[in-house]
Subunit: 341 residues, 2 copies
DNA sequence: TTGAAAGCGCTAACAA
DNA sequence: TTGTTAGCGCTTTCAA
């Protein structure tokens, strides 16, 4: 049995309440007594019992809100799953977690949801951010009013949010480049297809890829970035155009969605395996293409963690007052082939 | 605030105790009343509060023992770290976790440790198994006496243990083959270096690798398996011999330890990058070779999970009576390059 | 500055 | 078969 407050109190010859005050440094206590108690607690290896704490705090319950955007993607479904598991876990300790789903990407709706939560007494909020200024202002305002905010998946850098949980997009691009470098023949030709020029993640991935590939395979010829707007039709058309102009094409890197379109064209032209494809995100259609050999590698984000950890970080903060160790909590960059999917 | 037993009791017009008996199906209760209570609990969406439960059970405390073998490897250090984190987590709920380290691989010592724990009243044990018959008998005996047993890292198949948590070795080998297939030139020559012919994991990895490579790259010439007994010196000598006989060697797959020796020879001969090396286990020296380009891919096991999950599986079983969903809980097969390490 | 006591949700022993 | 009650370890309020 672990050490309890009462045991420390007995040893120190004081009451439980005094020990609690000493250890929580709440003041209203004789400094000498406090020091002595802390020493005893230390010697006995006191570790507060979480169950007791949770129970005692049940009335001032912790309320956490999670605002998830653009639910339609399978990636976001993974995030949702992680968030739900975390919800269940902390609710069993008496907290309340509400997951608010917003279908589109819409900062105004996010801000509205945040205010609603504040009104309802929520003390922690996790959200998928964007770089809208009004959203940044709202985050800062909430933080100053004592509501803990974390961003996940997409950051609002420069704000007062506690931390960001998500992928290091540049590293993801560089990892893709490293893989491409291994599997390309000499003097290969490679096309990068991105999503939106304005999307920060897409941009960082593409830049990371290009910089790294230029560096470690200077013989490779990189064609200019094309944008498919996360659209399979557009990606398919781009692929056809590129293949028409560059019959010698050896590789395609997809920094965003659209792989389905690319794979379709490659399949039709019988180029499966000869044009190497590296794509992002572990989606059903990507997995299918990976298994049938059209895609060589998928670079994944750990969707589950990106939903799970924001809840946990907020809970630890609100329950224990424990700040996250890192401001940037990058999730694993996962490499998947047909064999380890 | 979540639904409590008292609220259900109020609604049903009975006492807390009765509700508890109804929901726990402990008998000694009027079946009709029980059914009614269960219905009400269902409607109200009752979720037992874990903190309350943990606190109430604090006297009949849960004692979990983890027996770890061959601590010298960095992989096992990772396992230990996971086990320690899990220990901390469940001890904060009132349980006790003891991690017993056994330096060598020695089934007798494991069995002795198990008996000691049984004597000390432990009700759950996690261990790194081997295929010794006496160990298997002990596991079955303990299980029948009501002590929950899980194996991790290395299994004791066919015993009554609750589940196994570890890597699917065959899949690891096949994944390596898939990577090798992508990066090898035509008509390449590949050497497989394993650890011990008698080691089940080593064997499954090597077989998985060979079968898959034969299948997807029939042009590749596979040299016979060599054994390095997890020894860097031996691996280095083997590498030298092989390179002497096969100047055209293109790839080496290490199914076990010894990569340090292999990389040293490859470095000395200036073959870095031209002889592709795929190795197992995320060790410091492997990481170094990965970063400097001598190793192309490391296949990792999720060491942390292999320490963390056994504790959690045992705790869930002993705390909630919840059996694990899967008998074989395979951990992720992780692909690491210099970019995502 | 300290102690005493109530109560958080649940279990289990005992009483009815 | 059911109700009652004493805790489990902790926080917090009130009284001293």
């Amino acid at each position: 049995m672990a050490v309890t407050l009462q045991q420390i109190a007995d040893k120190a010859g004081v009451s439980r309440g005094t020990v609690d005050r000493a250890l929580k440094e709440r003041g209203r206590i004789n400094p000498e007594v406090a020091a002595k108690i802390r020493k005893i607690a230390d010697e006995m290896g006191y570790q507060p019992n979480r169950a007791g704490r949770a129970l005692a705090m049940a009335k001032h319950s912790i309320k956490i809100g999670i605002i998830i955007q653009s639910m339609e993607t399978p990636f976001m479904q993974g995030v949702l799953e992680g968030a739900k598991d975390a919800k269940q876990e902390v609710e069993r300790l008496g907290a309340t977690v509400t997951i608010r789903k917003i279908s589109e990407l819409d900062s105004d709706k996010v801000i509205a949801a945040m205010h609603k939560m504040k009104g309802a007494g929520y003390n922690g909020i996790g959200l998928v951010a964007s770089d809208e200024e009004r959203l940044a202002d709202t985050i800062d305002q909430f933080t100053e009013e004592g509501i803990s905010v974390v961003t996940f998946n997409s950051d609002a850098a420069g704000t007062k949010r506690m931390c960001f949980i998500g992928q290091n997009a540049g590293q993801s691009g560089r990892t893709a480049a490293g893989l491409m470098a291994e599997i390309l023949p000499d003097n290969a030709v490679v096309q990068v297809i991105s999503g939106y020029a304005s999307n920060q993640s897409h941009k960082e991935r593409a830049e990371g890829f290009i910089n790294e590939l230029n560096q470690c395979r200077p013989d490779v010829k990189l064609l200019g970035i094309r944008y498919a707007y996360d659209n399979d039709r557009a990606a398919a058309e781009i692929t056809q155009e590129v293949l028409k102009e560059h019959k010698e094409l050896n590789g395609i890197y997809l920094a965003a969605s659209g792989a389905k379109g690319v794979c379709q064209v490659i399949g039709e032209k019988g180029l499966k395996g000869s044009v190497k494809v590296i794509s992002n995100d572990i989606t059903d259609s990507n997995i299918e293409s990976l298994k049938n050999g059209t895609i060589q590698f998928i670079l994944g984000q750990d969707a589950y963690s990106q939903g799970y950890r924001p809840v946990m970080v907020l809970f630890d903060k609100l329950f224990d007052g424990k700040d996250p160790e890192e401001e940037y909590q990058y999730t694993e960059i996962v490499i998947k082939t047909k064999y380890n999917i």
